[in-house]
C-alpha cells in the first residue's frame, strides 16, 4: 500500500535550516498575511511561500492538497464579498446583491492569506521530520507534553490522509457519489467520508494514550534526544531578516499601507 508521509528528504537550502528557523518563518507568514488585507500584499506573501515550496522541491508531495487549497481560495473569493460590505467603487450586482471593488479585493486578499498560511504549515511538514519539530518546540521552551501533543497531531496527518483516501474508495465502491451531482447531494454525501474519518481518527486517538502509557510514558520526565539540532550562522541571519520583515509589515500596516479596509484584519 502507498505511504502518505509528508516529509520528503531533499538536499535543499530550506531542508538544511534549523526547525526553529522554519517555525519562525511560519509564524512570520501568519503575521505578514494577517497584517495586510490588500491582495497585492497577501498575494506577495503567497507568491513567496509558493516559491519556497518550489525551491524546496516538495511541490509533488503536496499534490493531494492542491484541490483543497484551490477550493478554500475559491470559497473565500466568493463568500467574503458577500459579507464584507463597504467600499465606494460599485462594480455591479448579482441577484440584487451589489458588489464593490473593495469587497472583491478583500475576498481575494483573504483567499491568498488563507492559502499562504496553510501552505506554509505544509511546507514546514514536508521539509522537517516530526521528531525534529518536537525537539525544536521543546528547545523553544514549550513544555514537553504540549510539544508531544503537537507532534502526535502532525504524525496523524499522513495517517488521516491515507484513511481519507481509503474511505473515499470504500464509499465509492458502494455507490456513494462524492464527486458528482448537485452541490447539495455532494454535501450530503460528504458525510459518508467525514463521519467514518472522524470515527476512525477518534478510535486511533483513544488508543494512543493507552499505547504510550503502557510503555512507561511520563510527561514531565527529563528527556535526552538522539537527534540534535543546532542554529548555525545562516539560521541567525534568516531569523534576523524575517524579524525585520515582520516588524516592517506591522509598521506599514500601522501607517495604513497594504489595506483595502483599514479597520478590519
Amino acid at each position: 500500500m502507498p505511504q502518505y508521509i509528508l516529509y520528503l528528504d531533499r538536499d535543499t537550502f530550506f531542508h538544511k535550516l534549523d526547525p526553529r528557523t522554519k517555525l519562525f518563518l511560519v509564524a512570520c507568514v501568519f503575521i505578514w498575511s494577517s497584517v495586510f488585507n490588500h491582495p497585492y500584499y497577501t498575494g506577495s506573501v503567497l507568491f513567496a511561500v509558493v516559491s519556497l515550496v518550489l525551491l524546496s522541491k516538495t511541490a509533488r508531495q503536496l499534490k493531494l492538497f492542491w484541490f483543497g487549497l484551490i477550493s478554500l481560495a475559491l470559497m473565500s473569493m466568493i463568500l467574503w464579498p458577500l459579507f464584507r460590505r463597504g467600499g465606494t467603487t460599485y462594480i455591479g450586482s448579482i441577484l440584487g446583491v451589489s458588489f464593490t471593488l473593495e469587497s472583491v479585493m478583500y475576498g481575494l486578499a483573504v483567499a491568498f492569506r488563507l492559502v499562504a498560511m496553510v501552505l506554509s504549515g505544509l511546507l514546514l511538514l514536508t521539509t522537517t521530520r516530526i521528531e525534529e519539530l518536537e525537539l525544536a518546540m521543546t528547545r523553544l521552551g514549550l513544555p514537553y507534553p504540549i510539544a508531544f501533543g503537537f507532534s502526535a497531531v502532525f504524525r496523524f496527518i499522513p495517517t488521516m490522509v491515507g484513511d481519507g483516501l481509503t474511505i473515499l474508495a470504500a464509499q465509492q465502491a458502494r455507490g456513494v457519489n462524492v464527486a458528482g451531482g448537485s452541490i447539495f447531494s455532494r454535501l450530503r454525501n460528504s458525510a459518508a467520508i467525514i463521519a467514518p474519518l472522524f470515527i476512525t481518527t477518534m478510535r486511533r486517538f483513544g488508543e494512543l494514550p493507552m499505547a504510550i502509557e503502557s510503555r512507561g510514558f511520563v510527561p514531565m520526565a527529563k528527556r535526552t534526544y538522539y537527534l540534535s539540532i543546532r542554529m548555525r550562522a545562516v539560521d541567525y541571519v534568516t531569523v534576523a531578516i524575517l524579524a525585520v520583515l515582520a516588524a516592517l509589515s506591522i509598521y506599514l500596516r500601522l501607517n495604513g499601507v497594504g489595506v483595502v479596509f483599514p479597520d478590519v484584519i
Binding site: 484513511d163 474511505i167 474508495a169 464509499q171 465502491a173 458502494r174 455507490g175 467525514i194 476512525t200
Partner: protein, 335 residues
C-alpha cells in the same frame, strides 16, 4: 475465569473452547473427536504423529476440481505501480470462474490487496485488461463497478457512517433510487442473513468489531453484487465470530455469488475455499484447487504460509492432504 492451568490441560478442553467461540489446536481436536487417548492431548504435529495409533485405515477424500464454465473476473497481463517504475503487480493473468470461492493468500506486500482493488475498480491498472462477466471494464468508474463487484474492507469503520444499522444497510439502495418499500424488504432479507435483525435500530458506532464487520458486509450484500471481495475480513474477530461470518459468505457462494477472499487465516482457506492463489512479489506463484496447493507444504512454507496442523499431520502420517479436522476424522478409522 472459566478455566486455568497448564496450557496443555486448558487447550485439551476442546468442547469447552469451542463453546466459548475459540479455536483449539487441531491436533487436540482430532484426538478428542477420535477418542484416541486421555487428556492432555498433543498440541503440536510431531507430538500427535508420535502418539497416533499405527493400525489405521485411511480412505481418500474426494478430489474437488476447479469450477468450470464462464469466468466472472478475468485479468489479462495486468501491471500496476503506486510509484513510477516500482511495479507492485507484474503482468498478472488470472480467471476467476462464476460461483468460485477463491482465497488470495501471500505475505504482506505481495500485491493481494492491490490486485483485489483493481478487480473492484478502486485502482486502475497501468497496463492490461480487466473483464467482469466478459465485459472490458478496465476504465470503468468504481461506482459503476460497485454494482457488480462488492468490496468489503478489513476495517469496517471505513464504510460505516449512518446513525443506525438499518440506514447503513439502506444507504446504497436509496442511492440507487430504490423505493422505500423495496429498501425495507432488502434490508430485512440481508439483516436476517447476517444475523443483524435485532440490531437494526442500534447505532453502529457502539457495536462490537464483529457486529460492525457484519454491518459492513450487509451494506454490500444489500446491493446484490455478483462478485464479492473480502479483504482480510476476519482480522480482529474471534474464531467463533470468524466462523459465523464465513458461514454467511459460504451461504452466498452456494447461492451463486463469486467470492474472492484475502486472508492470513489458513484454516478459513482450507475450510471454505475451493481454490487458492498464492502471490509473492506482485506475481502469482501458485494457483490451483485448495487440496493440491496445500499438499505442497514445503513450497507454502517458503512463502511463510502457516499450514494448518491437520494438513501437516495427515501428510506426515499418510502422505495425504486432509483439509479440515472433520475430513480427517471421517476418513481415518482405527482398526
Amino acid at each position: 475465569m472459566v478455566l486455568e492451568g497448564p496450557a496443555a490441560n486448558v487447550l485439551s478442553e476442546v468442547e469447552l473452547l469451542h463453546s466459548l467461540g475459540l479455536h483449539p489446536p487441531e491436533t487436540a481436536e482430532i484426538f478428542s473427536k477420535m477418542s484416541l487417548r486421555g487428556k492432555p492431548y498433543p498440541l503440536d504435529v510431531d507430538g500427535a504423529a508420535e502418539l497416533f495409533p499405527s493400525i489405521i485405515k485411511v480412505t481418500h477424500p474426494l478430489a474437488a476440481g476447479l469450477e468450470q464454465g464462464e469466468p466472472a473476473v478475468e485479468l489479462e497481463d495486468v501491471w500496476f505501480a503506486y510509484e513510477p517504475g516500482q511495479w507492485v503487480l507484474n503482468g498478472i493473468n488470472i480467471k476467476v470462474m462464476k460461483g468460485e470461492m477463491m482465497a488470495l493468500i501471500g505475505q504482506n506486500g505481495s500485491g493481494k490487496t492491490t490486485l483485489a482493488q483493481i478487480v473492484a475498480g478502486i485502482l486502475r491498472p497501468a497496463r492490461g485488461i480487466v473483464r467482469v462477466f466478459g465485459k472490458d471494464v478496465t476504465r470503468q468508474a468504481v461506482m459503476v463497478r460497485g454494482r457488480e463487484v462488492g468490496y468489503i474492507f478489513q476495517n469496517p469503520d471505513y464504510q460505516i457512517f449512518s446513525n443506525t444499522v438499518r440506514d447503513e444497510i439502506a444507504y446504497g439502495l436509496r442511492a440507487a433510487g430504490m423505493s422505500e418499500y423495496e429498501v425495507e424488504k432488502q434490508v430485512n432479507t440481508v439483516s436476517e442473513m447476517v444475523g443483524l435483525k435485532d440490531l437494526l435500530d442500534e447505532d453502529p458506532f457502539f457495536l462490537s468489531k464483529a457486529e460492525r464487520q457484519r454491518t459492513a458486509v450487509a451494506s454490500i450484500l444489500a446491493l446484490n453484487p455478483r462478485v464479492i471481495i473480502l479483504d482480510e475480513p476476519t482480522t480482529g474477530l474471534s474464531p467463533g465470530e470468524t466462523t459465523a461470518l464465513m458461514e454467511t459468505v459460504n451461504k452466498l457462494n452456494r447461492a451463486g455469488t463469486t467470492i474472492i477472499t484475502i486472508t492470513h487465516d489458513m484454516w478459513v482457506v482450507t475450510k471454505y475455499c475451493s481454490r487458492v492463489v498464492l502471490m509473492a512479489d506482485g506475481k502469482i506463484v501458485m494457483d490451483g484447487p485448495t487440496r493440491q496447493i496445500f499438499s505442497n507444504i514445503r513450497e507454502l512454507e517458503k512463502y511463510d504460509i502457516e499450514v494448518p496442523q491437520v494438513v501437516k499431520l495427515s501428510n506426515k502420517l499418510f502422505g495425504q492432504t486432509f483439509l479440515t479436522v472433520d475430513e480427517f476424522v471421517e476418513n481415518v478409522k482405527i482398526r
